[in-house]
């Protein structure tokens, strides 16, 4: 029940961040389709991958069905498939524990996925993640999160965050903007904003999925417990009746033997 209340709140957060994120990515798509050449590290061509960063977003706690396991499986697959060193930024207590246990190079550990609900903490986490890429040394930055499709549908998803994939940053018709103050400055403002909004959007989805998964798992276990209780009560009643029947039978037989009947 607690999860149900929290879920509703987080779900609202997902909707709101989607609105912001979608509009920002539309603008971004139009900018990058324009004739004006833009060069920015976030938009560079993918080169050889010598070291990649991975944000692993999983839950803070267990008892939520296969939610964490699914994320870990997707992560494992990614790490095995890269063929180069992977620096892991783990978000969520379970993510941190799992990444450490797997012997991955954990460069940053955020123990609380719940924090992404709080504006300032979320902003800080996303900024720090982005700054790991800014610091250089990473050829790309990816995230494994759980996409919140609906309350009952959660999809573990791998997404490249940086450099911004070209298929996302492409609109149909080129737009020539007037930039104020100037293009370079605006793009320098806009790109970090977009990356952070994207990360926030993914992380809050992961959180919503954790709550939803826990709610479903807990409902299922309540149902199971109830079924088990019903079965046990039935067994108990049957045993009791059996015992009473036996006793009556014994008394009756005894009385009969004494010739009272």
């Amino acid at each position: 029940m607690v999860s149900a209340v929290q879920l509703r709140r987080v779900q609202e957060g997902v909707e709101r961040r989607r609105e912001y994120f979608l509009r920002l990515s539309e603008i971004l798509a139009r900018i990058s389709s324009s004739e004006t050449p833009i060069s920015h590290p976030y938009l560079r061509e993918p080169g050889p991958q010598r070291r990649v960063g991975l944000v692993l977003a999983a839950g803070d706690r267990g008892l939520c069905g296969s939610y964490n396991t699914n994320v870990f499986r997707a992560t494992e697959q990614f790490v095995r498939g890269t063929g180069c060193p992977v620096d892991v930024i783990a978000v969520g207590a379970k993510a941190v524990a799992y990444a450490r246990r797997s012997g991955w190079n954990v460069i940053e550990a955020y123990y609380s996925l719940r924090d992404v609900q709080e504006t300032e903490k979320a902003a800080q986490i996303c900024r720090e993640i982005r700054e790991y890429f800014d610091a250089g040394g990473l050829d790309s930055l990816h995230i494994v999160y759980t996409q919140f499709v609906s309350i009952s549908r959660h999809v573990p998803t791998l997404q490249q965050v940086l450099p911004i994939p070209h298929d996302i940053a492409q609109a149909e018709a080129p737009v020539e903007y007037i930039y104020e103050p100037d293009a370079a400055e605006l793009i320098n403002t806009l790109l970090p904003m977009a990356v952070e909004a994207e990360l926030r959007y993914y992380l809050v989805q992961s959180l919503a999925c954790e709550h939803a998964a826990r709610m479903i798992a807990m409902t299922a276990s309540s149902d199971n417990a109830e079924e088990m209780r019903d079965n046990l009560v039935r067994q108990l009643n049957r045993a009791r009746q059996q015992k009473i029947t036996n006793e009556i039978l014994e008394v009756a037989t005894g009385a009969e033997a004494l010739g009272h009947l």
């Binding site: 709101r16 509009r23 603008i27 900018i31 007037i178 104020e180 909004a197």
Partner: protein, 143 residues
């Protein structure tokens, strides 16, 4: 030419305003600028200031603080770091925020060496509070 402009003010907390207007005045990084229908595609960063929306039902105001604005195809999208419609501004709360920021700044400058106070943040908070009051004032909420 299409004579309607669709304005959206969106923050990471959701959509603050959405609707058709005859024109809009926004605080751009280089000063206030007015947008009318048929405006050329434009991208600008936003300063802290008051957005004036000329709607058919009269003028509406919104206090925004930072962000970017896109004008494209008669749609104006303001992605603000913070935005609040004047009608929703809680004057009591703004005044409290303003007082808090003032006290922090005063303590930072007059008190004994207090490095713990983030003056940039306090100054920003003060500017935002004043801006919200400004928006509320324009909307005639301050009497």
């Amino acid at each position: 030419m299409n004579s309607e402009l669709i304005v959206e003010i969106v923050t990471q907390f959701g959509v603050e305003f959405q609707g058709p207007v005859d024109g809009v005045v926004v605080p751009g990084a280089l000063g206030y600028l007015g947008i009318r229908p048929g405006h050329a595609p434009l991208l600008t960063s936003l300063a802290t200031g008051v957005v004036t929306l000329h709607t058919s039902g009269g003028d509406e105001y919104s206090a925004v603080a930072g962000g970017v604005m896109e004008v494209f195809d008669n749609r104006v999208t303001l992605l603000a770091d913070a935005a609040e419609m004047a009608s929703k501004i809680d004057i009591e709360r703004v005044q409290q925020a303003m007082r808090r920021a003032q006290q922090r700044l005063e303590a930072a400058y007059r008190g004994p060496e207090r490095e713990a106070i983030d003056t940039d943040r306090a100054r920003l908070a003060l500017a935002r509070a004043l801006n919200r009051l400004h928006a509320a004032g324009k909307a005639g909420m301050l009497g």
